[in-house]
Symmetry: C2
Subunit: 405 residues, 2 copies
Amino acid sequence: MSTKLSGNMLIAQSGGPTAVINQSLIGAVLEAKKHAQIQEIYGSLHGIQGILDENLINLKMETEETLEEVAQTPSSALGSVRRKPTPEDCATIFQRLEKYNVRFFFYIGGNDSAETAHIISEEAKKAEYDLHCFHICKTIDNDLRENDHTPGFGSAGKFVAQAFMGDDLDNRALGGVKINVVMGRHAGFLTAASALARTHEDDGPHLIYLPERPFAINRFIEDVEKTVQKHGRCVIAVSEGISDAQGTPIVVKGATTKEVDSHGNVQLSGTGALGDILSAEIKAKTAITRVRADTFGYIQRSFAGCISETDAKEAHGVGATAVKEAIAGTRDGSIAIKRKDGEKYSVEFTRVPLENVAGHTKHMPDSFINKDNNNVTPAFIHYATPIVGKLPTIGKLKAIPVEKS
Amino acid sequence: MSTKLSGNMLIAQSGGPTAVINQSLIGAVLEAKKHAQIQEIYGSLHGIQGILDENLINLKMETEETLEEVAQTPSSALGSVRRKPTPEDCATIFQRLEKYNVRFFFYIGGNDSAETAHIISEEAKKAEYDLHCFHICKTIDNDLRENDHTPGFGSAGKFVAQAFMGDDLDNRALGGVKINVVMGRHAGFLTAASALARTHEDDGPHLIYLPERPFAINRFIEDVEKTVQKHGRCVIAVSEGISDAQGTPIVVKGATTKEVDSHGNVQLSGTGALGDILSAEIKAKTAITRVRADTFGYIQRSFAGCISETDAKEAHGVGATAVKEAIAGTRDGSIAIKRKDGEKYSVEFTRVPLENVAGHTKHMPDSFINKDNNNVTPAFIHYATPIVGKLPTIGKLKAIPVEKS
C-alpha cells in the first residue's frame, strides 16, 4: 500500500469511558486539521457500531471552542461500544470506509479496542483496502502492555486517592471497618492508587487487596483483626477483580447469574455485591460491630471535576501522535506512553505494533506488591505519584491532650 | 444564671461527618480566641464520649496555620459519635465540665446532636450548672427545621451533581439503565441535588425518587420503561431512604438483619443492597439488558477536593455566630441559616430555640416535587443552585450528521 495516502479520517471511541478520553479525541482532531492529506474528519458514534450503521458525524464542523470544552469533559463524546468485529463486520466496515473514502482510522480504547483495531488492520490487508489504522491507548485499569501507564488512569487514580483521603478521615471519626471496592478488572493499579491518599503515619487504607494475588477469606479476616488491634479501626481497598486461588472472581462466586460481553469479559462493576460479601464475612467471623462497604462504581472513571493535569495532557498527546504517525506514512500501530529515564518525570509517545497490545492484560509487577500481599510498596508510590498529580492538603490537629486534673 | 459567664469553652462534633464540619469548628475557635470571657478552649474527642472519658485536647495550642488547614479538610477533626446522653451521662458530664471550669459548650451536628445539646441544656438547668449551651447546625441530609439549608448539604450536593454529570455522560456512551443511590436518610434534598447535573435537554437524571413519596416497584418499572422508550437509556437518582406506603424502607425489606443506633436510626448506608434490589427488579420485569447500580456511599459526605465555597463560608459563619451569641449572654440555642428575601442569594445566621430543631426531621416541601412523584420542580433548582455553587462546564459536540451517501 502507499505510505502517503490521502483521504478522509474516521475516529471512534470504544470500551469504558474515562475522564480524559475526549482529550485524545480532540488531540487527534486538532492535529488532523493541520494536514492537507486529511480532508474530512468523521466521528463514528458508538465505536465500530457507528460505521456498520452509517452513523457518522462531521467533526470538522465543530468550533474550536466546542472542541476545547469537549476535551475537558469526561466520558466518550462519540459514545462507546463493546463489540469485537467478526470477518463479516469487517467486510461491511471496508465497504463503508470506501464509500466515505476513509484512509485514516483511529480507535481510542483499551486492550479490547486494540484487538478490534488489530483485526481491522489485518482484515484490511487481506481485503487490500489501503488504510492507516491506529489504536490510541486509554484505560483507567492501566493494564495495557508496552505502556508505562495509560491515559485515564491518572484521573481515576486521583479520584480514588481523594475518595480514600476523605473516607479515611470519616472512618477515623466514627470507627469500625470500612471496605471500598475499586475498579480495575484483573489489574490492581487503580486499587493501589488508594495508597496515595496516605499523608500521615496511621492513615488508611491500611490494607490493599489486588487481583494479582489470590484472595483467601481467612487470611483477610486475620489481616483485618490485626489492623483493628493496632489502629482501633481499619480502612480497606479491594479490587473488584480479586479472585480465589483457582482464579474465580470472589464477586462471581457470590452471584447467581453472570453477564459476559463479546470480548468474553465478565461483569464485575455496577453492583455492590463484593463489598456486601466481604462485609458479611467480617460481621460473621469477628466481634467487630461497625462494618461498612462502598463500591466506588462508575463515577470513579467519569466524575466531572476531578482530572489529573498530567493525565489530560498525555491523553491529548497520544491522540495527536497517532495522527502524526499516520501522516508520516506508518501503516498501523498503537500509540504507547513510555517513561523516560531521569530524576524528573517525563514521557514520550511511541508507536508500537498492534499485536503487542491487542487483547493482552498487563498486571502489577511484583516489585509494587508487599510480601504479605496486602499492601503496595514504596516503588509503586514512586511510580504513581507523578501520574496522579497534585492532591488536596489534609490538615491534622496536633491534638495536645488536656492533662486530667 | 448569670448571663455573662466567664470560664473555659468545650466544643465537639457529633453524627455523620461532612466536608465542611471543620469550618464550623474552626469558625467557633477563632471567634472564641477574640474574647477574654473565654479562657481555655477544649476539644472533646468523639462528641460527648470524650467528656465522659476525659479525652480532651487543647485547641488554643494549635497554630493558625494548622487551624486554617483543618478548616479546609473534610470529616470531623475531633472525631464523632452517635450517642444520646442518659440522665446518668449528664450527671457525669456536669462533674467533668465543672472540674475543667467549662461554661461554654458547643455541639456541632444534625438533629440528633441538637437533641443531645437540648438534653444537656435542660439537665444543666435542673442541676443548676451554669452553662452556655449551643448546637451548631450541620448535616448533608439538609433536614433540620428552622434552617433554609444546613452546612454540609452544599458540598455533598456538589459531589452528587458532579457525579451525575459524569455518570450521565457515561450512560449516554454505553446505554442501558443506571441507578445511583444517594444518602439523605428520610429527606430527599441530597438526592434531589442530582438534578443540578442537567445542563442539556435530554441530560439525566431522568427519574428522581425521594423518601417524601411512597415508593411502588410497579410504578418505578413503568417510569423506567417509558424513559428508555423516550431517550433510549435511563439514569435514575434514588434516595437511600425510599420506603413503601407503610413507611418501611425498601432496603430494610430486602435485608435479613438491621442495625440501629442509640437515637433509633436504622442503618441505610454502607451497603449496595438497595441498588442491587432495584436493579434485579428491572432485569426481572423488563427486557432491558444493561442495568447497573452504584451507591455513592460515604464518599459523598467526605470527599476531599469537592467543596462548595458558599457552604464552606456558611459553615464557618454558624460556628462563629454560636460563640458570639454565647458571649452576648444568650443561655442556649441552635444556630440556624435563614435565607434573606431579595433577588440575590444571601443568608443570615440566627439563634433559634433548641427544642425547635432537636430530634425533628424537615422534609422536602411539596413545591419541590413534581406531580408524578418522580422528579423535582424548577422551584427546587432555584433553591439549591446558589447553595451548591459553581459546577464544571460540560462540553457537547454539535454532532452534525454526515449525509448518508
